[in-house]
């Protein structure tokens, strides 16, 4: 994780060994408040990485930097070998026009804590919206695919419902289907179950488990340690804007090495 390949190496190694996400000394400040300090990490293709840590540790901000919803202050963040939202200029990186950044985001799906479904569209229309509007997929084709995706998240019979008429767990599953409709190569989950009633958490985690099993590369900011233990390949514990500890989730959860990690886990487990 700490020894980075240079971008020249990526080209030589070919597409398959390029890490899906590569963060190189990423820092981010809001005014004088430094929320991310020199974050470096790598996510392989098909890897499921869970980001855990106390609130305010910078894990959500880091996730939002990956698809350029937030600007980084310094450092490089690339997805599939390409900087997101910036153009590489050697020792400097140059911010892209928003239109170009929008194109890059098509390949990165994101699921939000508060679902953020479009309330004026039915579940089906929510899932169809981006393929039709962004990729120009013909409506009939997008519709068939949306039905397929809704069936995949167990909501085949809810396609004509507006979000207001769905439970939180169902809304979040529609949101996952909506992100998958763009055929992303990477999925970002920002505390996907934190706004749900406890009894609805399981159905969303089930969908995410199946997605992980299908080989999707996923970065999940979560407080669900059970999910991390069972599904994640890597667990990253962040606090105060730095990565405190990284490793196999079963090992980290059972036997944390750092005092800070121990203290945090003793409270949540």
């Amino acid at each position: 994780m700490t020894d980075h390949e240079t971008s020249a190496d990526h080209a030589a190694n070919g597409a398959d060994t390029t890490p899906m996400v590569l963060a190189e000394a990423v820092s981010k400040s809001f005014g004088s408040n430094e929320v991310l300090k020199d974050i470096s990490l790598e996510v392989r293709r098909g890897e499921v990485l869970c980001l855990v840590g106390p609130s305010g540790s910078g894990k959500s901000t880091f996730l939002r930097c990956i698809n350029h919803l937030e600007r980084v202050s310094s450092g490089r963040l690339s997805v599939d070998g390409q900087l997101v939202g910036y153009r590489d200029g050697g020792d400097k990186i140059y911010e892209m026009h928003p239109k170009d950044a929008a194109k890059q985001r098509r390949d990165i799906g994101m699921v939000f804590q508060r679902f953020n479904l479009f309330p004026h569209m039915t579940a089906l229309e929510n899932v169809m919206e981006a393929p039709v509007q962004v990729k120009g997929v013909p409506r009939a084709q997008a519709k068939a695919r949306a039905h397929e995706l809704l069936a995949r998240v167990g909501l085949a019979d809810r396609s004509d419902y507006y979000p207001a008429h769905l439970s939180g767990g169902q809304q979040q599953r529609v949101a996952i289907a909506r992100a998958l409709a763009m055929d992303p190569k990477l999925m970002l989950f920002d505390e996907p179950t934190s706004a749900l009633d406890p009894e609805l958490v399981g159905e969303v985690l089930d969908v995410m488990k199946n997605l992980a099993a299908s080989g999707m590369t996923m970065i999940v900011v979560t407080h669900e340690m059970g999910f991390a233990r069972e599904v994640a390949d890597t667990l990253v514990f962040m606090d105060g804007g730095v990565v405190v500890e990284t490793g196999d989730p079963r090992e980290v959860l059972a036997n944390p090495q750092r005092e800070r990690t121990k203290a945090f886990l003793s409270k949540v487990l």
């Binding site: 953020n116 509007q133 962004v134 167990g154 008429h165 949101a175 159905e203 991390a228 487990l269």
Partner: protein
């Protein structure tokens, strides 16, 4: 007496308690004073109507004669045209100005602010008089490079007649108000909507058009309906331009002919009321259209299903090895 709802009425008394009583009927609170007040009001209105019918100053025969006079109905059409055209321009311009005020670009933002400052800060009547004098200030409309001979030069009076000057005056003023209404609507939309659309790769324009504006409409429409009705009445000021073919100016003209202003005022008022009523019906349907998917409207069935009626997730991929361990994680929080 706490838990006998499940028992049949009049059967076994609860052990050691008082005998079960039959369920009590609920008597609603009565409001006799409402009825009394309504009757008194009706009497007052009836008195007023009977009295008004007998007063010669109202000149009811003249009201009847001019209510469907050709000049009046034509004037009503002009009034409606002025209202609709000015509002359409004002709404489009208002959306543009509102979006400009939300822009990150400080130049664009300032332009919108100055526009609002000028057009909201001066009375519409003064603006209309100014527009009426435009042909005196700028005798011709020239196209070309400044300080050289223009390529095209049209006398202002040929390019713009009084009707279009009135439309310009009304719509530019109204746009400033519409901009604030639209801005309030844009601000009412959850920022998460913008984020979700952006994360899906939608451009800023698409996000606005497909996601933010349709949701803002719900907040924008009721005050806009108000503005339309207000505009309908403001058209009576365009005599300042002067444009005199609309309802109020026309009825004034006729009342000068018959030496009695009162019946024509009634005629004009009835027409204004009629048009307003039609517009209100239109607003009702627009509001219904943009209430899709939001909340519960008492006048509409919702089709909501209780959560419990929804079947549990059943994914046809391999059966979950140990769902218990995940639930455990959920409980641990």
């Amino acid at each position: 007496m706490t838990d006998n709802s499940s028992q049949a009425v009049g059967t076994t008394p609860p052990p050691g308690g008082s005998p079960v009583r039959p369920p009590a009927k609920v008597v609603k609170l009565r409001h006799p004073w409402r009825t009394v007040f309504a009757i008194v009001l009706l009497l007052i209105v009836a008195l007023f109507v009977i009295d008004a019918a007998q007063r010669t100053a109202y000149d009811w025969p003249a009201v009847g004669k001019y209510l469907f006079d050709r000049r009046i109905s034509e004037a009503a059409v002009f009034t409606l045209l002025l209202t609709v055209i000015s509002m359409v321009i004002a709404i489009i311009l208002g959306v543009v100005l509102a979006v400009m005020r939300q822009s990150e670009n400080p130049v664009v933002k300032s332009v919108a602010w100055v526009y609002l400052w000028i057009f909201r800060g001066t009375p519409v009547y003064v603006q209309l008089v100014f527009w009426g004098l435009i042909a005196i200030i700028y005798q011709s409309i020239d196209l070309g490079i400044p300080f050289t001979d223009p390529w095209v030069s049209i006398p202002t009076t040929t390019a713009l007649n009084a009707f279009w000057i009135a439309v310009i005056g009304l719509s530019l003023n109204e746009a400033a108000y519409m901009a604030e209404i639209v801005r309030a609507g844009l601000l009412s939309v959850d920022p998460g909507q913008n984020e979700a659309a952006t994360a899906l790769g939608m451009s800023w324009g698409k996000t606005m058009r497909r996601v933010v504006l349709p949701q803002a409409m719900r907040v924008i429409i009721p005050p806009t309906g108000n503005e339309v009705i207000s505009m309908l009445k403001t058209t009576s000021l365009v005599s300042a331009v002067p444009f005199t073919l609309e309802l109020y100016s026309r009825s004034r003209d006729i009342s000068v002919e018959i030496f009695n202003p009162i019946p024509l005022l009634i005629v004009a008022s009835l027409w204004y009321l009629a048009v307003t009523s039609v517009l209100m019906v239109g607003q009702y349907f627009l509001e219904k259209r943009y209430a899709r998917g939001v909340g519960v409207r008492p006048d509409r069935p919702t089709g909501t299903v209780p959560t419990a009626a929804v079947p549990a997730v059943d994914l046809d991929l391999e059966a979950e090895a140990d769902p218990g361990s995940m639930r455990h994680g959920g409980d641990a929080r």
